[in-house]
Amino acid sequence: MAEPAARRRGGIRGNEATAGWLFVAPAVLILGLFLVLPIGMALWVSVSGWNGQGSPFAPGVPFVGAQNYADLFLADGLTRENFMISIRNNLYYVAVAVPAQTLLALALALVVNQRFLKGTSFFRTAFYFPSVTSSVAISVVFLFLFANSGAVNALLAMIGISGPAWFADPRGLLHLALGGLGLVDVADPPAALTGGGPFGLSWWEWLAGPSVAMSTIIMLVVWTTSGTFMLIFLAALQDVPVQVEEASLIDGANAWQRLRHVTLPMLKPALFLVVTLGLIGTWQVFDQVYVMSQGKPANTTLTPAYLSYRTAFTDFEYGVGAAISFVLFLIIVVMTLLQRWIMRDRDEVRPRRRWWPRRGSTS
């Protein structure tokens, strides 16, 4: 019989599709109700002029199109300025926190993975501990540590350094570095930089770097997240076959060569995961800002996630608040795609068709 069973829907496997849908129905329902539907609603709020009175879907709520988004990018005003400041802060935050936490996690994993190290399980637990502690509790502890007369400044004082007023210091680290090197006068920055810049923020403002206050939040986040990422690296490290390492030993590779050319390439999937999770987590930073600084001092710890919350729930600008969260969503997606493209596997996936001629070849 040439009649294939697949043509008929009956038979022994006939109900599989129905059963499959039935099994995933709870998940689909929950995701739809609590994820897709609210996102759709928020999308509507972001293009509406809803003032917070009654339902946003009531007949009288005006549709304002891209007005809320235009306020964030085009209209010269406080909304755009605050938003751009928050973007700047978060850019520096991501630029410092993601590499730092990835390197630290990798280093910790390599150390803990050593076979000769005694008490590895103790160190694994110790390094992972900050990750399982409530971020609010850790934030409060950091508030005490970095208080003007706190432990950090006391330690600095022991070696003769007068520590800054961490949470009250809005000075940017880049500004401080430039000033320290004598390149610019921080009190009177060059007019070329203060004159103009993209999105209503002067180049001087864009180049501020993370503020002293922000750097404490960066330290906190690096410390808390590196434990989780260490665990991911550790799992990947233990997957590296011993034979590969032995083979490289026989080939005469030294420790650094083994790490660079054997271990690291095998850790690439884990590295991708860690950097992606890091990018997403750092762009969404909220709890630490909410607990520790609320954007102060001088808006230098303001982040888009916190600004979105503040704009919606305390300034009653629900439309703009929702618009900020959608821009944030787009930023995260673009960053992840970009990072995926950068970390793509160059050895295996070569472009099949080249549209440029290879040098010295005729075809």
Partner: protein, 406 residues
């Protein structure tokens, strides 16, 4: 849990609001015994208990039932309640947020018709008037005054006669205190404290009718330049520079000889720093005379309540002279009606400086959409010591004008 919790919470309130869409148009009124929901932003256990007791007494006498709900975060909970079309019938409205609520039609303008409408202090009536209508009855109020730490005062060789009466004396006294190595004045770094200097210089941020920004004025410039001069000479410090959360903490710990705070400092010092001895005086006068700021809350009635008449009766009972004096002794606020003034001063003679300031007190900026603008102004004030006051005021003027237009 922060992020996930907030997200789930935001989703939940959107769902709730979608489920019960608002019916536009006037709300049909119900007569007879009402079940009133009262949402309060309580200052603490004492206030919650006092209001709950007063509400229980009123409900027993009037036959209505009242549920008093203390809010964790009043602004946010009210925002949610309005978004969900199920606002409480009666709720506290802070004067700084009043215009936001009034401008979107959330409040019932009932206060004009109250028999006691004329007895509220002028500054408080003004604080709850939007576009010419007096909306809600002020609950109580507080003003800023000067607190002097007696021990540090004596250590600096000063006497009661040296308490500064104007800016010149303030600078002179502060220099004498600083010469002894004591921080003279700690003052909060927000418009809610520094604004008092603007009033003393004869300026303010907005026109009395709330229609025009008046931030960029020579009077305001004089005030900011004076404060800047104090900050630069380290005669005045911000609380964060003294490693404290607010000026009351710095004052209570004896880190500064003077501070500028409101009535609430009384309870805070008694609770946290019972040992500190201090006196309270009216703020030093500026070039345009005396001036201070007033802070107040009103009993807002929702425009969507079906029990308007009962809610008004409840507010009348809560703002009656005897009831306000009971509140005053329970949690240390000043009655909002002039008719309670003499009896209040008999009971609390030490509060004369706070109460006498009411005559030249300025309420918060009374216009919608100012939260963002004023928090930006606060940000600028934090760097007042190194910034250009004229630029700060120009920026504020521009932002306020934009917010008033939009």
């Amino acid at each position: 849990m922060g992020r996930v919790g907030l997200r789930a919470f935001a989703a939940a309130c959107l769902l709730v609001s979608a489920a019960c869409g608002a019916e536009p148009g006037p709300v049909p009124q119900r007569t007879g015994p009402a079940a009133l929901q009262v949402l309060i932003g309580s200052s603490g256990a004492a206030e919650t208990k006092a209001v709950t007791d007063a509400a229980a007494a009123w409900s027993a006498a009037s036959g209505n039932s009242v549920t008093v709900i203390p809010a964790q975060d009043l602004d946010q909970q009210l925002g949610q309640a309005f978004a969900g079309s199920s606002p409480p019938d009666v709720f506290y409205v802070d004067a700084a947020r009043f215009a936001d609520f009034a401008s979107v039609g959330a409040l019932e303008p009932y206060a004009e018709a109250l028999p006691a409408a004329g007895e509220f202090y002028g500054t408080l009536r003004q604080a709850f008037t939007y576009q010419g209508r007096f909306y809600c009855a002020p609950k109580d109020f507080a003003t800023l005054a000067l607190q002097v730490n007696e021990e540090l005062w004596a250590r600096a060789g000063l006497t009661a006669a040296d308490v500064p009466r104007d800016w010149t004396q303030l600078t002179a006294v502060a220099e004498r205190i600083a010469a002894k190595g004591i921080t003279p004045l700690v003052v909060g770094d927000t418009v809610e404290r520094i604004g008092a200097f603007l009033v003393q210089a004869g300026g303010w941020l907005i026109s009395p009718d709330g229609a025009r920004a008046t931030a960029d004025s020579p009077e305001n410039l004089t005030a900011l330049q004076y404060v800047q001069q104090l900050l630069r000479a380290r005669l005045a410090r911000y609380p964060s520079a003294l490693d404290t959360g607010w000026a009351g903490e710095a004052f209570g710990r004896g880190l500064a000889a003077m501070t500028i705070e409101g009535n609430w400092i009384k309870g805070a010092l008694a609770g946290d720093y019972p040992g500190v001895r201090y006196t309270v005086h009216e703020l030093p006068a500026g070039p345009a005379g005396e001036g201070t700021l007033s802070f107040t809350t009103c009993w807002g009635i929702s425009a969507r309540t079906p029990y308007r008449a009962q809610a008004v009766a409840f507010v009348e009972a809560m703002t009656a002279v005897d009831q306000q004096l009971a509140f005053a002794s329970a949690y240390g606020v000043m009655p909002s009606v002039t008719t309670a003034r003499d009896r209040y001063l008999q009971a609390f003679p030490a509060d004369r400086a706070f109460l006498d300031s009411a005559d030249h007190a300025q309420g918060p900026v009374n216009a919608p959409k100012m939260g963002n603008v004023l928090s930006d102004f606060d940000t600028q004030l934090q760097r007042l010591a190194v910034a250009d006051p004229q630029a700060i005021l120009r920026r504020l003027q521009r932002n306020m004008t934009a917010a008033l237009r939009g």
